[in-house]
């Protein structure tokens, strides 16, 4: 008997889509809110960042399709990436932003030319990290639903660990690039 590998492709597809969509959705609002202090947004994002939405969706949705899983994954991935980006953007040297404003750059232009090149790595790291966790969640959900055997579960686990390793590596690289910026 050969193992059914479809759960691995299922969770991989969900993880990839979640990270891509989170990267497309989260950074811009994070930039807009970086210089504003809205405790409600911070609290909500913090709560959703730890909310196991995929598992909840698997248990409540009538059919657990990959679309449902991606949507549920985004419930957590977008706020998580948003918070990480916002923290990174808040630490952006205010002198850069002032210089850009003196040159007449719009918020959007500052976002594209300063915030993303200098802090984009934080966004990437957060998206990779949170989608690796989404992948694990999908695996747990499929296991609860009884749709996964051992070999694909092992593969999912290994892939998710690789994702976390990538996120950690990105963090290390990110730190050193900050030091390069500071001219150290």
């Amino acid at each position: 008997m050969t193992a059914d590998w479809s759960p691995l492709w299922f969770s991989l597809r969900v993880a990839l889509l979640v990270s891509l969509l989170a990267l497309m959705i989260a950074p811009w609002p994070a930039w807009l809110l970086a210089r504003r202090n809205w405790p409600a947004v911070t609290l909500l994002a913090g709560f959703l960042s730890i909310f196991p939405a995929v598992i909840v969706a698997a248990l409540t949705a009538p059919v657990f399709t990959w679309r449902v899983a991606v949507a549920a994954g985004l419930v957590r991935a977008v706020p998580y990436t948003f918070s990480a980006c916002r923290a990174a953007f808040q630490s952006l040297n205010p002198g850069y932003v002032k210089a850009a404003r003196m040159a007449g750059a719009s918020d959007l232009r500052i976002f594209w030319t300063l915030a993303l090149p200098l802090d984009g790595r934080a966004a990437l790291r957060a998206a990779v990290h949170v989608s690796a966790e989404a992948m694990l969640e999908v695996a747990v959900a499929l296991w609860i639903l009884g749709r996964m055997s051992l070999p694909p579960a092992g593969a999912v686990l290994l892939t998710a660990l690789a994702g976390q390793a990538l996120a950690l590596w990105l963090r290390g690289e990110g730190a050193s690039s900050v030091e390069r910026q500071a001219g150290r």
Binding site: N93, G95, K98, R101, M102, A103, G104, L118, Q181, A182
Partner: protein
């Protein structure tokens, strides 16, 4: 005219409130850290918004609180050099200049960038990122970036620009400059006018020499570098003999007659540490010679600073200090021509 009249409350304890007009030359804004120099420059540049007031540049309104005019930074015609190095780290010096000129058409942009690189001797470093360029090149690039839009007013925060660099700026920029500084020597070298800023208020302004020689208030005296600013009372006023005696708590000094004062008036006496002359205790009596107890001797690069009881400081050349010998009990002479009496 170019004038700045603004108010901005920052906290319970600190509010910036200034009202002054700007001359055509270099105006140096002198004040300690936290006096509001940077905030004032940012308000003029449009990077911070005042609570009320009016900012005019060559008769054009940049900000008017009542009329609700608040031009964005790029339309104010101000160049701004920030205190900290703020060249974009991921772009070369040339790309930094191009970014600052991006509102111009392509040909015009190229012309301005090429000109800036030539004027500020950046050809060698143009393709380097700021981290790889030297500190001097980074500073020249910051200046070139601030001037690339041909501003009507240059705002230079305390970024380490020295007298020679101000000369270079003057060669390519004719308009007024408002500079923030803590260095009085630089202000004297470069500026034609000086404004002393203390806790958000301008306490005195005028030509640098006048401000430094005739401080108008005790705060102005401290900002103008007078190490000794002592409180006192007028004890004698004698118009006929042209003298006044000041009681400074423990000793008294004689100065020329002070018109417009009454006996008992509280005054401040300011004198620079370098003007106070210590003598041996056994030296012959002279006017304004006061016995004082030496508390501390601190060597400096080119001189020696002596601190006496009553928080009086004196500064001597190394040779003068050697001539004093190892003597703890000294007399201090306060030469009349160096004493400034402030009402």
């Amino acid at each position: 005219m170019t004038g700045i009249r603004i108010k901005k409350r920052v906290s319970e304890a600190f509010a910036l409130e200034v009202d002054f007009s700007l001359g055509a030359g270099i105006t140096a804004l002198i004040g300690p850290t936290g006096a509001g120099k940077t905030l004032l420059l940012e308000i003029v540049a449009g990077l911070a918004t005042p609570d009320e007031g009016r900012i005019l540049l060559d008769d054009a309104i940049l900000f008017d609180g009542q009329a609700r005019v608040d031009l964005p930074p790029v339309r104010r015609g101000c160049g701004y050099i920030s205190q900290t190095d703020s060249l974009f780290p991921h772009r070369t010096l040339r790309q930094n200049l191009e970014f600052a000129a991006h509102r111009f058409r392509r040909l015009e942009r190229h012309r301005r960038v090429a000109e800036a690189i030539e004027h500020f001797a950046l050809a060698e470093a143009a393709e380097l990122r700021p981290a790889d360029a030297g500190p001097d090149e980074r500073l020249r690039c910051s200046i070139a970036r601030a001037l690339i839009g041909a501003p009507a007013l240059l705002l230079a925060d305390d970024a380490g620009i020295d007298g020679a660099l101000f000369g270079l700026i003057r060669a390519h920029f004719r308009g007024p400059i408002l500079m923030a500084a803590r260095d009085l020597d630089l202000a004297c070298t470069a500026a034609s006018e000086m404004a002393l800023l203390d806790r958000g208020r301008i306490v005195q302004r005028g030509a640098p020499r006048t401000v430094l020689d005739q401080p108008a208030t005790a705060e102005a005296a401290r900002l103008a570098g007078y190490e000794n600013v002592l409180p006192g009372t007028i004890s004698t006023l004698d118009r006929a003999a042209n003298l006044s005696r000041l009681d400074l708590g423990g000793f008294s000094l004689t100065v020329p007659y002070l018109p417009g004062h009454l006996r008992g008036d509280r005054v401040w006496v300011a004198i620079r540490a370098a003007a106070v002359r210590p003598h041996r205790a056994d030296s012959p009596p002279a006017p304004n010679l006061v016995a004082a107890e030496l508390i501390r001797v601190s060597p400096r690069a080119q001189s020696v600073r002596l601190e006496f009881s009553g928080s009086i400081a004196a500064e001597l050349s190394l040779a003068q200090f050697a001539a004093l010998g190892d003597n703890k009990s000294l007399c201090l002479e306060f030469p009349g021509e160096s004493l400034r009496v402030i009402a």
